[in-house]
Subunit: 219 residues, 2 copies
Amino acid sequence: MEDDAQIIDRNPLPEGIGERLAAQLTFIAEADRLKTILRASPLAAADRRENDAEHSWHLALMVLLLSEYADESFDVGHAIKLVVVHDLVEIYAGDSPVFDPAAVVDQRAREEAAADRLFALLPEDQAREIRELWDEFESGATPESRFGRAMDRLEPMLLNWLAEGGTWQMPGATVETVRAREAGVVAASTSLGAVTDAFITEGLRHGWIRPAPGREPGD
Amino acid sequence: MEDDAQIIDRNPLPEGIGERLAAQLTFIAEADRLKTILRASPLAAADRRENDAEHSWHLALMVLLLSEYADESFDVGHAIKLVVVHDLVEIYAGDSPVFDPAAVVDQRAREEAAADRLFALLPEDQAREIRELWDEFESGATPESRFGRAMDRLEPMLLNWLAEGGTWQMPGATVETVRAREAGVVAASTSLGAVTDAFITEGLRHGWIRPAPGREPGD
């Protein structure tokens, strides 16, 4: 962000809309920025990187379709809410590619500051509600957040598989760092963990994932 | 679609994934195409058109934040599911801009055919479940679908407002056809209907919306 201007400043809302609803519409307009935050992951359907808004939508669809594989029962509607809001803070904090050590070093602090600024656009009760959803997602402390986080790991693995590399080819990625990501899937679902395991084993065999430093493929 | 190839054909799933889960992952990979289906609406945050996946995400966020304005109580989690799946058929049927008379003439038939083809990728029970969600959204027969449809009308109006025109400038758009779209918002929420009314009244006054044929602004 180069300045503090909000999207709504471009063309302020018509007169006569109450303060609460105007705040909500201001936030909804500002949220349009999530469509411009690029992730490192390549789309399967086009030759470009994925943005946070379409990624969040894809996770929501995956929660809906894959819930049966969760090791613990959970509330699908609530888990979808978590994934819908989980990347909002990146509007101001930017994406932090997981295989980029420089990006993740101050990630938490940047995202906390972004949350404070972004959610403050909302009426106080809703700022608190959205903040609680984000905190819950980040915590991984509930079955819903564990399943949402598993989708947030599985989706880029599927995109990498379809790209025969994708972010697995980033400098910081080796089979060890990729396996560390897989743990988030295993934590929520044994069956889906087996899928990520197959992606990684086969990806390593094909050379789409680099072996651990100092090792040769097949060691 | 130029041929019947699916995204998953590019790099078939590893061996050993059961038939049901493989079908679900095939569908999830194919759904990546929704990120490439462009709508007529301009983004507020970037100089390009919106795609269906990020649009669907934006509706989900709006359902979450604006549910308090619904005239009837409804299940927020269920309404979010409806908006997450509501545009999936456009993967094969394409977008049908509402102000383009040629696009909407055979829209229903094209979308039915697309639904038959797309949902058939899923296991039968889930194909039925997703089809039911889509049918419910299309029907507008439940409070959840009425609110989801209202967001599907309100979001592009907000984008048009921020663009000082947007799709209101398309050849087929006049204040009459724009007002016809507004009815979908009014049907679910008096308060949000008042917002769309303000957008249209002010948009007409500024010349961002054309007056009805044969009339001058202010008539």
